[in-house]
């Protein structure tokens, strides 16, 4: 994906923005670009990228005419266009432009009211949800990028509001990405809280069939399928998922990695970071021996330990907990996990995990065993669909298991004490339905933002 950045200026200045440190050091002017030159460069670069997205800064600040010309050129080049915006300036004219240019709109939105206090502190009267409804009504393809921070998940009450909002979006068939706030001390969740929140959200999404990233990506990663750049082994000097076309016509890397100044893009991607991480012990910031290495590949170098790309991501604990969660969910659903391999290991699933699974669920065989006589893996054939052992293990992984969505009378089944069956039939069938669906989820509607 080529992100087209006519400028890096913004109108809202989110507290946690990853472009903030660059903006502090460099003057960013909205109208300093040459539009014709950018359009020419887009055409020149057409064959090098599978798609383009108008990005920023805040792209709508360049005005309707220029937005239209860029999106229209994208449509000419690719048959569709996309944009990532904070939405503050969206009005009916812009909605018409989006429709005309077959634009996939990515809206950065952290939730209603106080949930967006790190974003819309200057625009308290702006109601993004009205704009969401207007775009949906107009038939604009829309997805959301939500940054999960202290503002919308710092307490259980805030998290409940966030989840309620996700359900509202679900009614409009809107999904997107729940990106962890990173590199912004003071605004991001503590590691422990982030782990708790993401496991809680994972379970919530599973229960309600909400297909949000990073959960869909983690499922894909465990299947060895294409996923978001975070888990694709990013080369910090040639970011594979996001190249950025700047106003001067040069092409650079994802702005998460251009914090001080802009480095131009290395001519070819390499796997140096993967080499380093796979050979460096976990004790010293690497990933050696991690069973989720091939699914995760060290995470985003822009969120590396000590801000040094030669280390793995500092979100490791969060990702690892989610990988464990989905690993077990996949096993439960009899879906082959092809990516759970240790470095240098021959078995796709390490023997320890296999034996663990066997211990958890006696009589259950691992999906890779090739044993056709494993009736317990067929949920419908199992007299006890989820043995208490597995349930208690999932509870350990996801502490929110017992109280997730506890305020919702519509989901009593998630509270084991309220349910005669520890793993209720509704959830079983949901799991069966959801997981395979996720694996084949059409992510086209969020293709404007395939990097985070």
């Amino acid at each position: 994906m080529l992100l087209v950045l006519p400028h890096l200026n913004c109108n809202i200045f989110c507290h946690y923005c990853y472009e903030k440190s660059y903006r502090k050091q460099h003057k960013t002017e909205t109208k300093s670009y040459n539009l014709d030159f950018i359009l020419t460069r887009m055409e020149e670069l057409r064959d090098s990228y599978p798609g383009m997205c108008l990005h920023g800064g805040e792209p709508l600040m360049i005005g309707k005419d220029d937005v239209r010309r860029i999106l229209f050129r994208m449509k000419e080049l690719y048959g569709k266009s996309s944009i990532q915006t904070n939405g503050v300036l969206i009005d009916n004219d812009f909605i018409n432009i989006f429709k005309e240019c077959s634009t996939n709109v990515g809206l950065s939105h952290d939730g209603p009211g106080e949930l967006s206090k790190y974003r819309l502190y200057k625009f308290k009267n702006v109601n993004l949800d009205d704009k969401v409804r207007a775009m949906t009504k107009a038939g604009v393809s829309l997805s959301i990028i939500t940054v999960v921070s202290k503002a919308n998940a710092g307490t259980d009450q805030l998290l409940d509001k966030l989840k309620a909002w996700l359900l509202d979006l679900h009614k409009m068939n809107i999904t997107g990405r729940l990106n962890p706030c990173g590199g912004a001390p003071g605004y991001e969740l503590s590691q422990d809280r982030a782990k708790e929140v993401y496991l809680n959200l994972a379970l919530f999404c599973l229960q309600h069939n909400l297909k949000w990233s990073p959960f869909t990506d983690i499922m894909h990663a465990l299947q060895g399928k294409s996923r978001v750049c975070t888990f694709m082994g990013c080369d910090p000097f040639c970011t594979p998922s996001a190249a950025e076309l700047l106003a001067d016509g040069s092409v650079t890397n994802c702005m998460r990695l251009n914090k001080e100044g802009i480095l131009l893009r290395a001519p070819a991607r390499d796997y140096l970071r993967n080499d380093i991480l796979s050979q460096t012990s976990q004790e010293f910031g690497g990933c050696q021996g991690c069973q989720y290495w091939s699914a995760c590949q060290g995470g985003c170098p822009g969120m590396a330990i000590n801000n040094d790309w030669r280390n793995r991501t500092y979100l490791c604990d969060v990702w690892k907990a989610l990988f464990q969660f989905y690993d077990k969910s996949l096993a439960f659903c009899n879906i082959q996990d092809s990516s759970c391999n240790n470095i240098g290991g021959e078995s796709p699933c390490p023997p320890e995990l296999q034996s663990q699974l066997k211990e958890i669920a006696p009589g259950w065989t691992h999906v890779d065993s090739g044993n056709p006589a494993s009736p317990a893996l067929n949920l419908s054939a199992s007299p006890s669909p989820c043995p208490p052992e597995l349930q208690s293990q999932l509870k350990e992984i996801a502490p929110g298991w017992t109280h997730v969505d506890s305020g919702s009378p519509a989901s009593p089944a998630l509270n084991p004490s309220a349910s005669p069956s520890p793993y209720p039939p509704e959830l079983q069938s949901q799991l069966k339905e959801i997981a395979p669906g996720w694996l084949h989820a059409d992510s086209d509607h969020i293709d404007h933002a395939d990097h985070i």
């Binding site: 000097f237 001067d248 100044g261 802009i262 480095l263 140096l272 080499d275 380093i276």
Partner: protein, 268 residues
């Protein structure tokens, strides 16, 4: 970590990867010229079947001798340690250029015996830097001052932090960032390079005088200059980063400061 080098220019500095290549070539030309102009007894030169005729022709013209030393495996990257080629693998001849046959033989023998003192002397290295090399190289092949980290001030002539990418003023590893003997020899090297391409040599000097951060960690050295970031393999895999923040000693400023001090003391 395998041998590698990688240059990523900063915005507006796209010409640097090419420029670094030119600077490397300029240095190699100066190596030859330094022997021809009698500033050193010998220079090491790599010869393959492509450049052999041209080198021999030039050497004959200049009255210099080419003496083969040993075969080494071909690499397109900087490496502090040469490898012998495997059976059937392509190779080049590591050779020396001297003005006399006697020097050629002396160099070959010293090289075969790993007599770093004689090799260093014939290559024109200062005695202090030969001592440093003999002491440290067998323990740590890392070409950057092994005991230094943090803020470091030195002479551009001593700055070997970019040698992996081509730019350097002297051929040897200086014993310290402020080695006076290296600075003096470096003046001769720089003058020789200026005689070949003054603009490029001046730019090379400015580059090595600019603020540079050298950061070795997990087997990769990352070197940041005002114009680009360079990456290369480190010979040692460090579990904690070793970072050198390089600033060139400003001679003029030093002179000004010391003369001001003198004035003050006179007034007192």
């Amino acid at each position: 970590m395998k041998d590698f080098t990688k240059i990523i220019p900063k915005q507006g500095q796209e010409e640097w990867p090419n420029k670094l290549g030119l600077m490397g070539a300029l240095f190699h030309q100066a190596e030859y010229q330094m022997v021809k102009n009698k500033f050193r007894q010998a220079a090491i030169i790599n010869v393959d079947h492509n450049n052999l005729p041209a080198i021999l022709e030039q050497a004959n013209k200049d009255g210099l001798l080419l003496t083969p030393l040993n075969k080494i495996a071909i690499t397109d990257r900087f490496t502090a340690i040469t490898q012998s080629p495997g059976p059937g693998e392509p190779f080049i001849w590591r050779s020396c250029i001297t003005r006399t046959r006697k020097d050629g033989e002396k160099f070959k023998q010293a090289d075969a015996e790993h007599n770093h003192r004689i090799v260093g002397q014939m290559l024109g290295y200062p005695e202090c830097c030969i001592d440093y090399f003999i002491q440290t190289f067998p323990i740590d092949h890392c070409p950057i001052w092994v005991d230094l980290r943090g803020s470091v001030s030195g002479y551009p002539e001593c700055n070997g932090m970019l040698r992996y990418f081509g730019p350097k003023i002297t051929a040897h590893l200086s014993c310290s960032p402020a080695c006076k003997a290296t600075k003096e020899i470096g003046k001769v090297w720089l003058k020789t390079m200026q005689g070949i391409n003054k603009d490029l040599a001046d730019e090379l000097y400015r580059l090595l005088a600019s603020p540079i951060t050298w950061d070795s960690y997990h087997g990769v050295v990352q070197i940041e200059t005002p114009y680009f970031i360079g990456l290369n393999n480190a010979l040692f895999i460090l579990k904690k980063p070793r970072i050198i923040n390089w600033r060139a000693i400003n001679e003029r400023q030093k002179i000004k400061i010391s003369s001001k001090k003198k004035l003050k003391s006179k007034k007192i």
